[in-house]
């Protein structure tokens, strides 16, 4: 196990029934970096993210070969606790999905699932989570009102707080800004840059500019294959692969 690698993916193939969604992925994701995964629609980005915390298990007929190691531990090992894995590797979806309950209850949802969390710490956990996602000041006076009344950008930051309340190690973000205006997008990007001090972040950016703004390293996924990966600067200035170059220069995508 080489040091600094949070996630190590080896020869990973993923199938929905007979349809292969990911092909021979080999990739290391380092601790405390923002890794951005680029690729056109239907190239397997969401599948890739969801396989990192095994949300793909919910899909009937899904199967895989190869291994994914989290801190050297095989996440597909039948002995590992699935609920624990998902607390360690949190995901934020492309559309904000607040549950129809109060802001407080939304953030408390995760911590309350494990009976270890005590009531008196809950308030602290929730405040910390909301502060980390830079939402606290906007909602501190109405924590017990419905989360559905928040704006789109606030809802997405709520979804990030909801994950942070679990104190995860890895954050998976699937186009977290796709439904948001430029100002909300900027605040989320700022949030991400600060969060990487504590977390490892795997981001599917909603455009190439976003990747160039926040990513440390970038991978390019095409038809389920990882075409190229490397430091963001190199990928954007001198991509080795022709397809990567075409994609980031906007020739297709």
């Amino acid at each position: 196990m080489s040091t600094g690698n949070k996630i190590a993916i080896k020869d990973f193939n993923f199938y929905y029934g007979s349809l292969q969604a990911l092909q021979m992925i080999n990739l290391d994701i380092r601790a405390n970096e923002i890794f951005a995964l680029l690729g056109p629609a239907r190239s397997g980005k969401t599948t890739f993210l969801k396989s990192l915390n095994r949300l793909t298990d919910l899909v009937y007929g899904a199967s895989h070969t190869g291994t994914i190691l989290l801190d050297g531990e095989d996440i597909y090992d039948p002995k590992i606790s699935l609920t624990q894995l998902r607390r360690r590797v949190g995901i934020v979806f492309d559309l904000p999905i607040p549950l129809p309950m109060s802001i407080y209850e939304n953030v408390a949802y995760g911590p309350k699932l494990s009976n270890k969390t005590q009531k008196k710490y809950l308030d602290e956990i929730i405040e910390k989570a909301l502060r980390s996602a830079f939402l606290w000041d906007e909602v501190k006076d109405r924590l017990h009102t419905s989360a559905l009344r928040l704006s789109g950008g606030q809802q997405q930051r709520l979804c990030i707080s909801r994950i942070l309340a679990l104190d995860p190690e890895v954050l998976l973000l699937d186009e977290p800004c796709s439904g948001l205006d430029p100002i909300s997008t900027a605040s989320i990007e700022e949030t991400l840059s600060r969060l990487k001090k504590e977390y490892t972040i795997v981001l599917v950016p909603h455009n190439i500019q976003q990747a160039s703004r926040v990513a440390d390293r970038v991978g390019f996924l095409l038809d389920g294959k990882l075409v190229e990966e490397g430091p963001a600067f190199e990928i954007f200035t001198r991509p080795k692969n022709k397809k990567t170059e075409d994609y980031i220069s906007g020739k297709f995508g």
Binding site: F93, L99, S114
Partner: protein, 280 residues
Amino acid sequence: MKIERGRYLTQNIAKILIWMAALSTMAVMALIVFQVLWEGLPVLSLSFFLDSPRSMGREGGIFSTIIGTFALTIVAILFATPLGVGTAIFLWEYTREGRISRTIRFGIGCLAGVPSIIFGLFGFVFFVIYLNMGWSILSGGLTMAALILPTIISATEEALKAIPYSFREVSYSLGGTKWQTVTRAVIPSALPGIFTGIILGICRSIEETAVVILTAGSSLLIPTSLFSPVRTMSVHFYILAREGISMEMAYGTGAALILLVLVVNIVANFLLHRYARKKT
């Protein structure tokens, strides 16, 4: 121009027909309610509700039948709700659509189509005779539970279907188990729909006669235990009218029934709105 006029004509005719359909439905309903209330309301008084029937129901009130109605309905709901909601959760959350779930769903559909008198006969043979429970609240309540089960199952299933898959995904992604996901993320949102199913079940048990006559008897005494026979308001109405005991008292009972169903629905609506307001 000509075509335009044709379109407007069609539009207007359609509008008139649709209005007529809605209005005639309303009219029929209003007529029935009006007739029963017109004949029955003058009979209603506090003593009508609080006195027990005397001389077969010719005199006195309907107190024991109100107790009977409540007792039977409560027993039916207590049995049917957990069973029905549980079945719906099993069908929608715990099984993949396949031969088993399709068979169960087909069975439920058939059950919903069985005439209530058949349920009554089943209850009579099985609970009253075979299990030797006699004509009683328990026999009647259990049979009624079977009768309203399909209603509660389908209402619950529809409510579960309406919950976005993403809620479940969110719950799993936060480390929830299946049970936690169902009970914390799904059921609270589905509650209004489930509740509507239960209300339909309650109204069904209040209005049902065939099942009650065959399984709970028609005793006018105030029940003392789950094994006491009872007469519900609907059955009382039926017997008073059918056997020509007293049309006046029959209409009184009918009016009381209509008011009861009205109250149940108003209260249910009120609760639903309050719940919905709290959620959004």
